[in-house]
Amino acid sequence: MALPTTTVAWSNPLQPPAYNPVAARTTLARPPPAQPAAVPSEKPKKVEWTPEVRDYVGRAFEPENTIAGISKEDTTNKLRDVLSYFAERSQLEGIDWSTYPLPQELLRDERAAAWAQAQNNSLLSSPHGPANSTFDTPQSKKRKSQDKTDLSESADASVPPWRRTNLESRITYANGHSEKRHKKNALSGDATSKFDQADLEKRKQRFQLSKNGNSSTPPWNSPKPDSDADMDNTPCVGTNMSLEKSYFRLTAPPKPETVRPQHVLEKTLAMLRKKWKADKNYGYMCNQFKSLRQDLTVQHIKNDFTVKVYESHARIALEQGDMGEYNQCQTQLKALYSQNLAGNPDEFTAYRVLYFVYTCNKTDMNDLLAELTPADKIKPEIKHALDVRSSLAVGNYHKFFRLYTIAPRMGSYLMDMFIERERLHALANISRAYMTVGLRFLTDELQFGDDDECREFLESHGASQAIDKKLDEHGKPQFRVKVKEAASVFESLRQAAFALVDIKGQK
């Protein structure tokens, strides 16, 4: 897919603009063609205008204050609204006109807010976003603009045509000036961009001032920027069709041609699942899943499919014992489930319980317990995990190892993370309470596969001295373990194991 280059754009300078109704540009990259400093002819005659108001009106029509996508006509109308609002209330003198946002700025913010709203709403129903399919072809330039005003104002010479047709202008950033600025500089190498930067700064300060110093802004004024608006908040819409993609951390806004839309991602997921079953190559899998997650994120796809992706990655990470990735997925899943999306919240809640058992994080465990409803607690997976928790809390290793054998779903993978630690804990316990025990007793209590496995475990943990071999009447070897002798060994191993709780991946 070819990105329309500036040359292409130049060749059709007079076509109707194909940009969104949002003002994608906040300032102009170049000083626009000279425009006569318009004298506002529309202002009501009766009122006496102060010099400050006149200056404000003048500035509203100054070319360097023009905003792409906002026509002169719109600006004029807005200006009239603003002035008459204050005139009706006789507050014209109470306003600091030198810091009051210009009408086009007010309009831009209003539209940006409305667009963001519409985006969010449409996202809920259609994850592909409104302009998904028509977007990547050269013909899209002929696509009709959705904004009638902009159409009628297409002669607005202040917007350079390459701006309108550039794909960049479709990716709208509610407030991400800096990134965009960065991008634009890179694209055009525009010498005047420094000037814009300064302009931008000035404008920012004006906003700042009017926010602090002026509380009687009209009701239609843009909502105060909050943290979300500060962020780059508008989704990208992907056009990439390939199933596989390597993960790279984003350092700049993604290009649509590198991002895959959901219907492609769905195929990707199916393919990845098949591949995982076939060759269990975790390095490849993790990389693919991370790029998959990234593509979902940049397109703001947040639906049942998203849950499926995170669940799949979490399970694979779990199978591999990659707690870092698992934990990232778990965090995301928690938030996704809170949106009542389909999925397996019980299963993953149980994993969270087990995970906190593993990390010994009492604070988080307490917070999690506080979240659980009585209904949650009787769900089989969650109940199992809670039983694991309480059995360890009261030192009931017998019960704990029984629960280990009946862990539902992938619970045993998580329990594997701390099974050795708990075996040492139980051994430390047993070695204080018994003199000697049969090897079989330990094998059964600590759920080893067989006696040999148990013996290997003891030997590899420095207790080979304590194992006593005798032959019974049939000449078969019988092993007894003089646990008491190894008590201090087990105790120090236990302490070391609990001191070393690796909580990588946790923020």
Binding site: D228, M231, Q328, T331, H398, Y434
Partner: protein, 457 residues
Amino acid sequence: MSTEAALAGFQQAYYKHDALELASCLKPTPVDRLYDFWRSTNEARVEHTVKHAITYGLSGIERSEAQGWIDVFVGFWRASDKIIKADQAQNQGRLSERHAVEVYETWKDLVQTFQKYIGNGTLPHWIIFTLYFVANDLRRFAIKADAQLAKAKPVTFSAGLSDDIVATTPKNQKLEEAARVFSRIFALCMSDRNPNLSESRKWAVYCIANLQFKTYFKLKTITLCKNLIKSIEAQADMPPWNLYPKAHRVTYMYYCGVIAFLQEDYNKAETALFNSWAYCYKGSTKNRELILTYLIPCRLITKSEIPSAQILQEFPHLQNLFGDLVSSIKRGDLAGFDKAFAEGEPEFVRRRVFLTLERSRDIALRNLLRKVFLAAGYEDLKEGQTEKDRMRRTRIPLAHFATALRMGSGGGQTVDDEEVECLLANMIYKGLMKGYISREHAMVVLNKKGAFPGTGV
């Protein structure tokens, strides 16, 4: 009412050097009390009228200080403006997150104005205590703003460059911001190098720290509290501890105790909580109850000690919370313990004592096993022994303990023989019972002396 009249209370407080009274002039609640000042001027004229009122009201103060007060009261007027508008919006049922955020932002400006003028020495040192109250209100406004924001946008999209879909933006964004404001105020107090201790801002260290504790607890970032405690402990030139107001000390000790409690440092927690308890004003039932909420579980762990019936009676809420649990422990009634524990769970979890209390089941178990030991009676007297030498039977069949456990668990749960051994092993491991288990003989051999340490047998 004129602005001058509206600020008369401030003048009085200022001349009396009464930080508390001055703080009450800047109180944002109830909203009604803001109207006089608010109506006395308007946005366009506020700087002018306040300047007039302050410069003529406080005669003879430095120009720079006057400017400080002008900025403070202009800030207060602006905050009042937002508070009144938010209040009106609420009465009309159209309160939005915008109102709550505006209130928070303007109040934050007020706090920062104070901070600025105290920091550069323009406002007198005792104003730091006024600032405490103003900052405390900032905490309230931040919580309200966060609640409104959470209602408006339950989950946020992440920024364009992050890898995952749900933003990690905090739920308590405003309160976190407020916490940063508080830590700057804390630094302002700590860094006061004034050699004249009587004019030092260090006197506000503990009350600001308490404010921070409260905020961090709400934010569930309790680990940050530790840094705070460390930095206070590392400070060499603090004024003597016992000259601080009791209120500051009791609250500070309480938080130190709870923090140690949550870190499972129960000995340290007990000392701090007990200190707090000892100095706590007897009339403040709520605070004493809070202290006991942690002190009781703490003592259960450190000393295996249950609270007296008398103390529970004094606090009906605690009686509800711990009463059944404590009496079950005393009786060695495991079924009763489990029931009481399950019933109290939501409240225990909320108070963060759940995981600690769970461990007190050991004491209930110990008491049950002790009964088995006592029931086994005495060894027969051998020749030449007198009544004085009579020894308790110390070799007790495992089956006896198993029976007791099955009875004690209320028959509902099945306890198999290995589990009985496991529980006994635990008792021995934790030092609640002395002896060893012999599998060959299916016996428990207890120490002849002190089989159950600390219980007289």
